[in-house]
Amino acid sequence: MNGLINKVGVILLIAFSGMMAIAPLILDRADANVAYLILYFVALASSWNILSGFTGYINFGHAAFMGVGMYATAISIADFSLWWPLAWILGGVFAAAFAFILGVPVLRTRGPYFAITMLAVAEGTRVLFGTSYLEPITRAGDGIAFSSGISFQTKYYGMLITVALCVWVTYKIATSQFGLRLLAIREDEDAAESMGINSPRLKIAAFVISAFFAGLAGGIHSTFLHYVDPFHTFHIQFTIIPIVMAVFGGVGTIFGPVIGGTILQILNDFIWAHFLQLNMAVFGVLLAFLILFLPQGFLEWMKEGGWLAKTRRI
């Protein structure tokens, strides 16, 4: 029975990937936009999951990395007219570098200290990008408007490749010793350290990988928006929504963020269309509801109910 369910799961996954791959070719532009935004939020949720899902360090400042990536790409195209693939990658690289510098002090903290420090980091980064100190680089509150001259399909496939890479890396981590060590940190950091696990180094590695994908996705998205400014770029919704998506699908699973991201982005699109003003409130309620009633997420709930094959919990 398990074998059959697993096969159905694999077939569904292939069908889903295939659909996402041909979406921009068969859909009209408005629907293709929805598909693109699904990929974008899946990339954010999935990259958030790499640190927070495996190590249990709840990152409430994911928007900061996405935002740094957006700015890096925007500036390298607007001011240095860099070739776009390079600019995208620079987005990821800058976010990763930012995470590395930040991770050394911040990852010394644990639990609530880390969570709220990251909340303050995202807020602090937003303020910093809007101050006159960085104005020569970031143009402060005016933001940067630029044109990349890339077609929508290129951006779409760039994002698709980012998602695929991110999920593949998550899979590689989940099945590696590195992943096992991260999980050991999540379960009991002191015990893990006494077993000889170098937790600071591993946490920073996970943090940097997580930030890289957030920055890469942000970089691609900035060419989609043609505009970055501190208010929209570091908006807290880019932290909240990916977290709710990852929790919905299942924190610390490989495909949880993908499923959560897909379902909730379709919901998000609906909310935007109907109650724009309460967009965040709906996600707040959803988050509280998930924590109270489905703390393991949708995937685990399906497994409990026999809809999916039971697997080793990671």
Partner: protein, 289 residues
Amino acid sequence: MALLPIIYNALIVGIFIGSIYGLIAVGLSLVYGVMRVVNITHGEFVMLGAFLTFFAWNLFGINPLISIAIALVVLFFLGLIIHRSLVERVIGKPMLSSLMLTFGVSIFVWNTAQAVFTTNIRAVSYLGGSVSFVGVNIAKSYILGFGIAVLLVVALFAFLKFSRWGKAIRATSQNDEVAIVCGIDTKKVRTLAFALGAAFAGSAGAVVSMTWFIFPQMGFNYLAKAFAIIVLGGLGSIPGALIGSLIYGAAESLAGQLLEARMSQVIPFVILATILVVKPSGLFGARER
């Protein structure tokens, strides 16, 4: 302009600002001490207290000074309801659950407030002007805030020190298992502590509405400040929170004078990062158990 008078001015103003922050921080610290929950909704309680005062004054002409008491009572019961219906369910679960739950509630509250109150920036212009105090011009509202803060904090200390419920709160904070063994209903104690925390945040919000501008998303700023303060003083320690708030107020006021005004929003992070790197348990805190 000479630097020394600026620093002197900033430090005196900082003590007044710090006392208002202290009112917010003691509530957060009390809740953390009793149930090991960092209540992310705490900032929203401040916001609700502020808006309650604003609308009471604007629509019904109620004196903001009376609203401080009203906010105290209303937020006490709101805290009671939120604790009983939501937060109590995640007590004893991993930190992740309570963080995410209160984060969700916080988002819900501010976004709803944004839709209902609109994003306009408001203020209660009740106490204008300033008076001279030890050679420094201090806004009257700061002095009022300082007075209210001292009054409430002394009341809280007396309550914790002398009343039965206060002793139960302290016992639960020190060791909840032993508290249960001694016949303390820790569930009730937690509810009381949470409601008290909310009440303090609400009354602080009433003071804030007379002192600074208010808007639906203001809660996060105060949460970040209060959190930086209780980390500074050691999580769960109420005297630590008070000393931390004075240090914090002075630091923020200095930074506001010497750097660009907006940089004061970055101060919580800078203080947090420094403290956590140098002494992760806070200045006065014991090691986490």
